[in-house]
């Protein structure tokens, strides 16, 4: 159980970190750049919310399988297939949680006062400097919300993980898969303990992030 918990935490932390970087870049593009077909891009980014995890998992299997050109290339580069590995879980998690990272960050960027951005421009700050010095420091609320959502979403992830990773102890057997396996084996006591652990860890992580976020908002709030 501890091994499965550690794997879930590793997957959640890696997904949160990587997805935040991706969300910052995509949030910036969606908020401040004139992109062609921005509406279509936003719809594509929202798709993982609508698709059942099994469908998403199935498409990723089709894409990453050694029989596909992409999968064959990855297999040639890695020396072994990507499917049923931790990296496959990570790719699946990144796509599955994409909207939970991108949209809170995008909304946070868009809620930064246009006037503050113009103040920075007038005082000689380039768009990139303005992003780093004005937009980012005033967007921590949204960034922390995105972190909490992605972390929690990945901790509880099941369908995509099962499709892409199976249940290899130490490699792809996350806590949610562990619980499923224990239920299948009729070990309800162990399933209860693992479920409680998953619930507790997720709740504590979310409470800490919520506490940090609240502190940040209090610091900035106008009287």
């Amino acid at each position: 159980m501890v091994e499965a918990l550690l794997l879930s935490l590793k997957l959640s932390l890696a997904t949160t970190g990587l997805l935040l970087l991706l969300s910052l870049a995509l949030g910036y593009l969606l908020s401040f750049r004139d992109l062609p077909a921005k509406g279509l891009l936003e719809a594509l980014l929202l798709l993982p919310i609508l698709l059942p995890p099994t469908v998403l998992g199935f498409y990723l299997i089709a894409l990453l399988s050694p029989d596909s050109p992409v999968g064959a290339l990855i297999t040639a580069l890695r020396g072994k297939p990507l499917l049923f590995s931790f990296e496959a879980l990570l790719i699946g998690s990144l796509i599955y949680s994409l909207p939970f990272g991108v949209f809170p960050v995008r909304d946070a960027f868009q809620s930064v006062s246009r006037r503050h951005i113009e103040v920075a421009y007038v005082f000689g700050y380039s768009p990139l400097e303005t992003f780093l010095r004005v937009v980012l420091p005033n967007s921590w609320g949204g960034i922390l919300t995105a972190s909490a959502l992605v972390f929690a979403h990945t901790m509880g992830e099941f369908g995509v993980v099962l499709m892409l990773g199976g249940s290899i102890p130490g490699e792809t057997k996350t806590l949610s898969i562990y619980i499923y396996d224990e239920v299948q084996a009729l070990n309800y006591g162990e399933a209860h303990r693992a479920s409680l652990l998953l619930l507790t860890v997720s709740l504590v992580a979310l409470a800490v992030l919520s506490f940090v976020r609240r502190g940040w908002i209090e610091k900035l709030r106008y009287s």
């Binding site: 006037r115 007038v122 005033n138």
Partner: protein, 237 residues
């Protein structure tokens, strides 16, 4: 074109329901653009600051052409070195007073404006560690003004800078501004004839997107009739 003017602006900006256009020659000292809401005053400031691109426009500031649409020239706001104070919400909420001023000072042209001197001169020494939400409206505007001056701008634009302040604070701010002995062109847009009368060395009247009058302070008196007499009596008292 007024060749004596420190700043010459000519532009035409088309909106769906209004076209704002005109020629403006701003001199060193206080140039007040007076007009009701929707008369195009803020458009004039945004075009001057480089925050808005007009369909046609020419801007020369202290000998340097910053915009000439006929030649495809448009200097971005970052390169114009023009100070700007909005009506409200000027200060960056995550920075305290000192950091807000440093924000502009960092990009100043190195003429050596000392931050501590500025803070003391404008009575902000005791407020320097406060965040914008911990200041009164008047204090916030004062910090925004000091920040704009710390930038060593070659021109200062003030967009209704006193309209959200109560009358006493407004008068204090006007005194402060006049006492600062600025040697650059300052353009103040306002809908308040009192501000125009108390501040304006030159006054430009705007209505429905066009300049409808230009002159000295007396223009306000003439234009507002009896109110003008009251203003004069007030100013002399």
């Amino acid at each position: 074109m007024d060749r004596e003017a420190a700043v010459f602006l000519s532009f035409r900006k088309v909106y769906p329901t209004l076209t704002v256009e005109g020629e403006f020659a701003f001199h060193r000292g206080f140039n007040v653009v007076l007009g009701p809401s929707g008369s195009g005053k803020t458009t004039l400031l945004r075009v001057t600051a480089g925050l808005l691109k007009p369909e046609e426009g020419f801007l020369r500031c202290e000998g340097e052409v910053l915009m000439d649409t006929s030649e495809g020239r448009f200097t971005p706001p970052q390169k114009r070195r023009i100070g700007l104070v909005f009506q409200e919400d000027n200060l960056l909420p995550h920075l305290n007073v000192r950091e807000n001023i440093e924000f502009a000072l960092r990009k100043a042209d190195g003429t050596g404006v000392a931050l501590d001197e500025l803070l003391e001169k404008f009575g902000l020494g005791g407020l320097q560690n406060r965040k914008p939400h911990q200041l009164s409206g008047g204090e916030r505007q004062k910090v925004a003004l000091v920040r704009a001056l710390a930038f060593s701008p070659r021109m200062l634009l003030l967009d209704e800078p006193f309209s959200s302040l109560d009358f006493r604070v407004k008068l204090d701010m006007i005194s402060l501004l006049k006492g600062a002995e600025l040697k650059i062109p300052v353009v103040v847009v306002t809908h308040d004839p009192v501000e125009a009368f108390l501040l304006g060395d030159r006054v430009f009247l705007m209505e429905r997107g066009r300049k409808v009058g230009e002159g000295g302070r007396d223009l306000v008196k003439e234009f507002f009739g009896e109110l003008g007499d009251l203003l004069e009596a007030y100013a002399c008292s």
